[in-house]
Amino acid sequence: MVGESRWVQWVSHLILGSASAMVLLPLLWVLRTSFADKVVAYQMPPQLLFAPTLDNYRDVLLRFDFGSFFLNSLIVALTTTAIALLLGALAAYAIDRFRTGGPVMPLAILATQMMPPIVLVIPFFLIFKQLGLADSHLGLVITYLTFNLPYVVWLLMSFFRRVPRELDEAALIDGAGPFTVFWRIVLPAALPGIGAAAVLSFVLCWNEFLFALMLTGQQTKTLPVAISSLVTQQGTAIGAVCASTMLAIAPMVLIYFAIRKLLVAGLSLGAVKG
């Protein structure tokens, strides 16, 4: 029995280790190449030891102005997240506690969240041209609300469900108004959930591509669009592409390590629990 379980453990580590290597190796390869100069980056067979250089990062930040694209991503993601949380928390609370909108409501929210972005990008493209919202932060925030608001509502519904009903019912009986109950009692109790929703909403916006590709221009380009245009402009500027890829991933990885537990709870809850 002991022998068998040791064998199983050995195989487990072999499989899990290989899977981890599959995830890590490409990332490490890009990280390595982001510090390589032009000669080394193009060299095949690859050179593993070389004098690292920061030229690629300098190039990306100064010559290609990635600082401002980084800022665009930040502005749009933060604004969208703030609006989605504010509206989403109120709605999610009412839907969870009072079944507002009946059985249609959850369906409408889920269907909205699942909607293919290509369906909306076509009308938005035309409408924004008319309204002068093309290439504006506001325009992008509007389009991001289409998937973010339903996502936040869905996520928070499942977090509010875990706050015991007795808490708010007791407060209501004591004479507190519905808004007070929400603000003073339910919201604080669901604070970790709100945090998870905030982070996940931010990540969703940060990584979005199709809307940003079609609806932004030089002024409001987000990071993913900037990186994608780097490829077409520069042929294969390997080093710069690697450096910009690292810059796009870095904030997400930092967020991830800072609040891993919260995030895992949020991701799985929002996805699995109805």
Binding site: P46, V119, L223, S228
Partner: protein
Amino acid sequence: MTTATIRAGSPGRRRNLAQYVFVAPAVIVLALVVAAPLLYSIYLSFQEYIITYGMGDFAGFANYLAVLSDDFAHVSWVTLKLTLLCVVFEFVIAFGLALLLNQPHLPGRSFYLIVLMIPVLMTPVAVALMFRLMFNPSLGIVNWVIGLLGIPPQGWFGDPSLALGTVVFVDVWHETSLMLLMLYAGLKAMPGEPVEAARIDGASRLQILRYVTWPLMKPVIMVTLMIRMIAALKSYDLIYMLTQGGPGKATETISFYAYRLGFRFLDIGQAAAVSFILLIVVTLLTLVLLRTMREN
């Protein structure tokens, strides 16, 4: 608003009114940013509208009939193949890893979890660029590595017979994490007693998996598969970044086809029609998904 506020009727009535006030902002915003453009898009799909010529006449179902051509059959087939291949590979890998991670005494569990979760948070653009670099026929490391094993260099994304498979590989790398996360969370939330009881009764690992874990996990598995399938049907980002639907049309998905019609051929009417067909399929699947969730 505190208890000092003037009371309008009984607490019950206030609560009733309040719920609508709570929901209203979100509903109004969604009506404006989702419902309005959606209705406009449906209208466009019945219009003859090519950007360079401007809005034409009412077209009836002409756009739908035009797009339901050979191309549509082809892109639907590609989308279906891509979706099924991705979902199957991702599920098998994710479920296997989740089971391994869920073993009671596993040293290094948190290390594995941290590493295996990284792809979830990456933008598809970054993932695609990473693999474009590595699969580059002349400069990529992959061809060099397989060269060490004596395999001749491949065209990968440029090879019609390999392109879709390579895209699937990248998608699996990117999306398995999310599935793993959902399945692992499901396993952890599973009651421990049935497995324990089966073990005491002398059931083997495989028997426990087949007769205890699998039935208990079935609802979570169904939901996970549905969510992933709906997402995969919408594939656009990776296609745009990796192959632009090529070589030829070998990796062109429905979303990319709609994009190409609308923004390359500037035929808004037909693009809207294609996107609307996709929307119907996705909405139907979402209905199934919701029903599955309710049954849990």
